[in-house]
Amino acid sequence: MVAIAQVDAASLVVRDVKKSFPAPDNPLSRRQALDGVSFSLAAGELVSLVGPSGCGKSTLLRLVAGLDFADAGDLLVGSEPITQPNAERGLVFQDPNLFPWLTVRRNIQAGLVARGVLQEKKNEVDQFMRLVGLESFANVYPHHLSGGMAQRAALARALINHPKVLLLDEPLGALDAFTRMRMQDEVLRIWEARRTTMLLVTHDIDEAIYMSDRIMIMTPRPGRIERTIEVGLGRPRQRDSTDFLRLRSDILNYLHFAGQK
């Protein structure tokens, strides 16, 4: 595949982060979305965040992206505190959110244009389109793309800025099962080639086990990280190996148990 220079991935530290929102039913009270969340990712690590919907995964990711502010606690990339969105922290949503008025190529180079560096980095656009296999769709508008292709374009758009941390908010959640498995390999291939630090939010436990170095399990109301599991399987992984399946049933049991509490 295309060789793209490895980036200097950065560590990510989240320390005792709290975040609350006005309760929808009573605007005077606030609901605690995150209550003292702490974790850290070493540079180049791929870590998943799993948990039932409404447990604050996406809130946490928005804080790390800099799109929202925490009420308390520290968020650091390397040693820099996170104060605002930055091209160093790429974000891919479940919906690809490609700009419909731009062709695939112009979508992918959007980050370069936004940072005013398109001229010097023009050749990278082709590299990244090849990286995600969309070089023959350069001049197509997004609504002609299938879900998988659109999500690959969104990945390339985030990667072209050489982010030190890539945040993935259920990026494959909207894809059918077969496309999703293929895209998991795709993301892993990119990760192995570039060693970007990745934080993957998912509600698919298989996906978390298949892809990540560690799995953090979140529980809702208030959102906090209940447990962190080292996956410890060699790569490439087999979706049907005994270890894989044992880990899977462990986590399912745990989540079920966590629900009973």
Binding site: A65, A110, G133, Y141, H144
Partner: protein, 331 residues
């Protein structure tokens, strides 16, 4: 990896280039019929009066026969004829009915409803003044419209983007905007140095309101996730406004441009008939003053052609700018 998913290109469906005989013959036959009918109706009229009207039908018959002969060489021409001939035929039939009602049966009172031959005569006799009036209308319309669009885009973007501007600007917009621009005529006459300037300002005002409203709502309804994505890509405010919010608002902005164009036609004609001493609106009221209704109808025909051409140009511009919406692929 290779792209496994299929790309389905959307090919525009072209109408078949089959041209039936009866479609092809409809235009010359209708024209010949109209010609004969007119000869029958107008046998008591002085023949010179309807000379150009009859000549027109001779030309229509000649051209349609030429095109019928030329159809073999061009599928584009065939398709165009198959598409347009029924409409042309209907137009000729309509003119026939008009001829019968006015000149033939005299159902409608004269001089308010002259027949098509008289209108065509006015059109041709007065062509220089009509052309000059059209030119003046065009200049005034374009001046006022572009001024209104520029002002509307600026205020719309500001109101849509910035919460403080929205807080102070929206009430003003809601109170002042719905007043029809023509209601300002008495004030505009007093305030502006000349009738041309006041009319241009009124047209601009008429355009400004819908353009501002639609632009502001388009900008403020930009999907938050587009803005979030752009910010994580390193976008500053300039990129967010000009490369995310404005493109996202363009479909709305075009609705505003169309509404503004309609309002500008109305304001143009009214302003010209009460203040400005030139242009098609002035021509209509001037011809009415002399009870020359043939000229009134001639000016209405010119107006129809003039306004619909401008409307068509705006449609073409929209199709070009919003090509990403329409399922057209540019390879």
């Amino acid at each position: 990896m290779e792209a496994q998913e299929e790309l389905v290109p959307v090919t525009p469906v072209e109408p078949p280039s089959v041209l039936r005989w009866r479609t092809m013959l409809a235009v010359p036959v209708a024209a010949a019929f109209a010609f004969a009918l007119h000869l029958f109706i107008a046998k008591n009229e002085p023949p010179l009066e309807a000379h150009s009207y009859k000549l027109l039908y001779v030309e229509v018959i000649g051209v349609s026969i030429l095109l019928a002969l030329g159809r073999r060489f061009s599928p584009g021409l065939r398709r165009w004829m198959a598409n347009m001939w029924p409409v042309f035929t209907a137009a000729i039939v309509f003119i026939c009915i008009w001829d019968v009602i006015t000149l033939g049966l005299r159902i409608l009172p004269l001089p308010y409803f002259p027949g098509p031959a008289a209108v065509l005569r006015s059109l041709i006799n007065d062509r220089f003044l009509l052309l000059d009036s059209t030119w003046h209308s065009l200049a005034l319309l374009l001046g006022g419209y572009s001024l209104g669009v520029i002002a509307g885009l600026i205020s719309g973007v500001c109101i849509g983007w910035s919460a403080p501007v929205r807080y102070w600007g929206m009430p003003l917009l809601k109170v002042v905007g719905p007043i029809p621009a023509t209601a300002w005529i008495p004030l505009a006459m007093v305030l502006a140095p000349s009738a041309i300037v006041s009319s241009a300002a009124l047209i601009a005002l008429a355009v400004w309101f819908p353009v501002t409203m639609l632009t502001a709502s388009g900008i403020s309804n930009t999907r938050a996730s587009y803005l979030d994505v752009a910010r994580t890509l390193g976008a500053g405010p300039g990129y967010l406004i000009f490369r995310v919010a404005i493109p996202a608002a363009l479909p709305n902005i075009f609705i505003g441009l169309f509404m503004g164009l309609g309002a500008s036609f109305l304001t143009l004609v009214v302003a010209e008939s009460v203040g400005v001493k030139s242009g098609l609106g002035w021509y209509v009221s001037w011809a009415q003053g002399w009870a020359e209704y043939g000229k009134v109808f001639a000016a209405l025909i010119i107006m129809a052609a003039f306004f619909s051409t401008i409307m068509t140009l705006l449609f073409k511009l929209r199709d070009r700018v919003l090509v990403w919406q329409k399922g057209v692929i540019k390879w």
